[in-house]
């Protein structure tokens, strides 16, 4: 099986561990990646089952994790107005899912390979109403740094890309430097991911690229 060139060529494509959402499919398409769904919103039992299955799957040299919700979060609910369901959906459940998926990705990554987590979050200036997303993005960056430290001995790199492409943020002044804000998944986001997966990023791990037309720095 492993000697079959068709399988070798399939394994050479990036593996996208993502949610079944149009924007994730678009990202996978732009990267010529193969998709595997992560049951990020189906509860902890489903996530545990997926984690066990992932642990016995074939390794891959390039893995992208993108756990995006079907409907992008809106910034119209202050943190203090959120009810328990909204808090769970936007904060705790995604934190658990990202912890599981990013760790599974790093573990499954072949020696010398690369993992990139792509997380949606507005820049600090525009953070009002997006507290769970801003918090989650900082948490995912810390997870990536933790995994970069633990997997570095195998030559595995772990980085993150942040994007606001779907968030509908109205930026406060000053305007983002590039008119392309908020950017497109297929172009700006995929480009940043491609760079971090590539050998050109061989010396980059534990880092974050903001693919946001210069909004956050």
């Amino acid at each position: 099986m492993t000697g079959d060139p068709r399988h070798a060529s399939e394994r050479a494509r990036p593996l996208i561990l993502g949610t079944d959402v149009a924007a994730v499919r678009a990202l996978a398409g732009a990267l010529d990646g193969r998709l595997e769904w992560v049951p990020a919103a189906e509860g902890d039992a489903a996530l545990e089952t997926w984690r066990r299955r992932c642990a016995s799957a074939a390794p891959c040299a390039q893995i992208v994790v993108a756990l995006w919700s079907e409907i992008p979060p809106r910034g119209d609910t202050p943190l203090t107005d959120m009810d328990a369901d909204m808090w769970e959906t936007r904060a705790e459940a995604p934190l658990i899912a990202w912890s599981v998926a990013l760790a599974a990705a790093a573990s499954r990554c072949a020696d010398g390979g690369a993992v990139v987590g792509v997380i949606e979050a507005p820049a600090a200036l525009d953070a009002a109403g997006f507290a769970p997303e801003v918090g989650l993005a900082v948490a995912v960056r810390a997870l990536a740094r933790s995994l970069a430290a633990s997997e570095g001995a195998r030559g595995v790199r772990v980085n993150t890309v942040t994007t606001q492409a779907r968030l509908g943020v109205e930026p406060l002044a000053p305007a983002p430097p590039l008119a392309s804000f908020p950017g497109r998944v297929e172009r700006e986001v995929a480009g940043a991911v491609r760079l971090l997966l590539s050998p050109d990023a061989a010396g980059i791990t534990g880092g974050t690229l903001a693919a946001d037309s210069g909004r956050a720095w």
Binding site: R51, A55, A103, V138, A142, R145, L147, S150
Partner: protein
């Protein structure tokens, strides 16, 4: 002399360690300090310590994972003292110092980390906001250098501490127009939690102190508590959305 005498503050996880240090530092300014904790005996002892150093100490039972418990604790403060100027969320999961491989962590443990640190932040923010707005007060979240740089063997802890940094930043934006400040504090302190971490990982003490320019851990009262008191005080009236590192210069990430 600390600017803003007569403040009323609530400190979670204040029955020991860094939380106790913050409670005592605030007490030295003459503030009323509510020691919010699950452990009644230890919490009451700290409340007595608060009285002994010049403050007014009160114990209130509080499990930060539970909405009703948090709401009751905040209500107890405002019923008795009529105001709430500051909330310090210091409590952290007892799992925090336990070394783990992230890929093997039981989901229940991840849930526990999240419940104490990040749900606790949300519940405290939700219950305290009307009172903090009335007092033009502030919320202070205790985070960690782990929340900046990540930790190979403490990844769940690093993640929730990082998430608190992000929540502080976003809440500062949301609450600024109401005159309420939100900050973070990332200490490296001598505490029972740190001693437990050292006990779990024999090489950790040398590793932690070896990279620390000052070569020692911070004192929970004189150094960590004083920094927290500053951020809660009127001296920090123009400081919000910031995480202050009080770690002897040891964190390599800014």
């Amino acid at each position: 002399m600390v600017s803003g005498s007569g403040k009323v503050v609530l400190v979670t996880g204040a029955s020991g360690g860094v939380g106790r240090g913050i409670a005592l530092a605030c007490a030295e300014a003459g503030w009323t300090v509510w020691v919010a904790a699950r452990r009644a005996r230890e919490g009451s002892e700290v409340a007595e310590n608060v009285d002994a150093v010049g403050g007014r100490g009160r114990y209130v039972a509080c499990d930060v994972r539970d909405a009703t418990s948090v709401a009751s604790a905040v209500q107890a403060v405002t019923l008795r003292d009529g105001r709430l100027d500051g909330v310090v969320h210091n409590a952290t999961s007892e799992l925090s110092p336990r070394p783990v491989r992230l890929v093997e962590v039981p989901l229940a443990d991840l849930r526990e980390h999240a419940a104490v640190s990040v749900r606790g932040t949300w519940l405290l923010a939700r219950s305290a906001f009307p009172h903090l707005r009335a007092a033009r007060g502030s919320l202070l979240l205790l985070t960690s250098e782990a929340g900046f740089e990540g930790k190979a063997r403490l990844a769940p802890y690093a993640a929730v501490k990082a998430m608190q940094r992000g929540l502080a930043r976003a809440l500062a934006r949301e609450w600024g127009p109401h005159g309420v400040r939100v900050n973070g504090l990332a200490p490296l302190a001598s505490s029972p939690a740190m001693e437990r971490a050292f006990a779990e990982d024999a090489a950790m003490r040398a590793r932690v102190l070896g990279r620390n320019p000052l070569g020692r851990l911070g004192d929970p009262v004189r150094e960590i508590g004083a920094a927290a008191r500053f951020l809660l005080s009127d001296d920090a009236a123009y400081v919000t959305g910031h995480t202050l590192m009080v770690d002897g210069g040891s964190c390599p990430v800014t």
